[in-house]
Amino acid sequence: MEKFKMLVVDDEPDFLETIIKRLKARKIEVAGVDSGYKALEFLDKHDVDVIVLDVKMPGMDGIETLRAIKKKKARVEVIMLTGHASVESGIQGIQLGAFDYVMKPVALDELLEKVRQAYDRKMIQADKA
């Protein structure tokens, strides 16, 4: 069982559902929501270490959500998930405090590796604080 708590935000239900199932099968404490609002709501009620956030979503998009998350809980690490030509938004995300960005489709193990790195950084910064 991994130590970190994960949240996946993606508007594509098939993707969200499957990745959650697979992460849970790996004994990871993970939740999934399909919009930025729901992610913020979720943050209010739950403790989260790493968020995997889709950039392109209807309504509140990934960048907006990222800003709101960083405002709310600066310590939470965010990995941007981009599906289209929004490398800029990935980079913009990093400038706004995201840990990294990953292009879809991504192998789950690869993504998990990034999540672990992000969690490590969170821990190091928590120690410093």
């Binding site: 594509e12 993707f15 199932k21 697979r22 599906g83 289209h84 030509a85 800029e88 292009m103």
Partner: protein, 470 residues
């Protein structure tokens, strides 16, 4: 008048006016000299002119002018005699005149270098010394004009030369003035003027023609040059906008495909996860299922490579700026590909400018460009060949040029305009994405450079990249 002293005074007065008067004499009806003034006093004083032809003539007509003769004096002269009737007596006043005076007058008509003028009498005997045609008192070396009846001008052939002759009758004595001129000579100023006018005219025409030709040519050249430039810049603009449009489209397609690909990938991953559970592993078709899932994952990755390259092509990211040495980047690129090249017996030769200036550009992107072009060169040669890579610093327009030449089969002419288009490939299906060169093109454009291709079938292909040193 019979008084010689008086005659002497008259003679002196005349002589002060004109030295041509050689002597004066007064002769009576009988032909005897009554008075004489002149140098030949002793001889002439005693001469009786009664039987002389001229004396008889003057007595009849009153005035006589002789032809030129040498006479006693042995110099050419002529005489003028006038009879004066006084009471019942007739006198004749006779003056001898040196014919030099006429010679001088006639000489004035010697025109140019070949012109001549002379006076002849009715016997075609020269009365003056011509310039070329003989001596006084002899027939002239000219056609016989003794029978001339008036003024005439005629071109005549004389001794193989065409000469223009003009004649005029001198009325008093019926002498004939003959003036000759070589037409080439006399008419020379006229001809020269005409020739000059013609020359100027012709020159003008030639000048106009040459001028027109030169201007037209220059204008045509300029027009052609501008046309070519226009065409080139049109082509570049078209290429540029084509790339932009295709970039957008590619990005859209990549996005639309990436999301379902992500779902497929996750589903396949989930199936693999499930297959890893013990109970499923006992299934009869477990291996088949596992293979199928692996294949799905493999092809998701393959599709992903395409979409990610598409995104890379469409990327409008600002290039990272680094100070780079292009020769080093080329060496690194060659390192990547050297094994493949050696395996295919392709020799990669480099000829770098040692003084190549550093440039500020995106190393990774530039390397991508070099890799794409060199890979293409290797693929084009296939086996046994040579790739030559040159770098140069072009001082004139302050550019760095990188030339990559291969000894491959060359690019067919009809394919040449398309090679930078995305998805254009000559490679087998599945081997090339058709994106390599279009990515190279857009990267070089983004870096402020230019990429050009020259290719000749059978001989090979050369890609030339121009980059600004910064």
């Amino acid at each position: 008048m019979q008084n010689e002293d008086y005659l002497n005074r008259v003679f002196n007065i005349i002589q002060t006016r004109s030295k041509s008067f050689l002597d004066l004499g007064v002769i009576d009806e009988e032909g005897n000299h009554l008075a004489y003034v002149g140098p030949h006093y002793s001889i002439l004083k005693k001469v009786n002119y009664k039987d002389e032809k001229w004396f008889q003539e003057v007595m009849v007509t009153g005035v006589y002018v002789s032809d030129v003769f040498l006479g006693f004096r042995k110099i050419p002269h002529f005489i003028i005699a006038v009879m004066v009737r006084e009471k019942n007596q007739s006198w004749v006043l006779r003056a001898t005149i040196d014919s030099d005076i006429i010679d001088n007058i006639v000489r004035a008509a010697w025109i140019g270098k070949k012109g001549d003028a002379m006076i002849i009498n009715r016997e075609n005997v020269l009365q003056t010394t011509p310039r070329f045609g003989g001596k006084v008192m002899e027939p002239p070396k000219a056609p016989d004009f003794a029978a001339a009846t008036g003024t005439m001008v005629e071109a005549m052939d004389f001794r193989g030369e065409t000469i223009i002759y003009a004649t005029s009758i001198i009325k008093l004595k019926k002498w004939i003035l003959v003036i000759s001129e070589a037409p080439t000579e006399q008419l020379t100023p006229l001809l020269q003027a005409r020739f000059l006018a013609a020359l100027i005219g012709l020159g003008g025409v030639v000048l106009i023609i040459i001028g027109t030709y030169v201007t037209t040519r220059a204008m045509m050249k300029e027009l052609q040059r501008m046309d070519r430039k226009q065409a080139a810049s049109d082509e570049m603009a078209i290429q540029s906008s084509k790339m932009a449009a295709l970039g957008k489209m590619a990005a859209g397609i990549a996005h639309e495909i990436n999301n379902p690909l992500a779902v497929i990938g996750e589903k396949a991953g989930w199936m693999k996860d499930l297959l890893a559970m013990e109970d499923v592993a006992k299934s009869e078709h477990f291996q088949e299922l596992l293979d199928a899932v692996h294949k799905i994952e493999f092809h998701v990755v393959r599709a992903k490579t395409v979409t990610h390259r598409l995104l890379g092509f469409a990327r409008r990211m600002e290039p990272v700026e680094e100070r780079v040495n292009i020769n080093e980047i080329l060496d690194e690129s060659i390192d990547f590909l050297e094994n493949d090249a050696r395996y295919r017996n392709i020799d990669i030769q480099t000829n770098y400018a040692p003084d190549l200036p550093l440039t500020t550009t995106d190393q990774a992107q530039l390397q991508q460009v070099f890799l794409n072009i060199i890979t293409n060169a290797i693929d084009a040669i296939d086996k046994d060949g040579e790739i030559v890579i040159n770098t140069r610093s072009i001082k004139q327009n302050n550019r760095i040029s990188i030339e990559i030449s291969d000894t491959g089969p060359g690019i067919p002419k009809e394919a040449l305009p398309k090679i930078f288009d995305p998805f254009f490939t000559t490679k087998e299906v599945g081997k090339g994405t058709g994106l390599g060169l279009s990515i190279a093109y857009s990267i070089i454009e983004k870096l402020g450079g230019r990429i050009m291709v020259a290719s000749e079938e059978v001989i090979g292909t050369t890609f030339t990249i121009y980059l600004p040193p910064k």
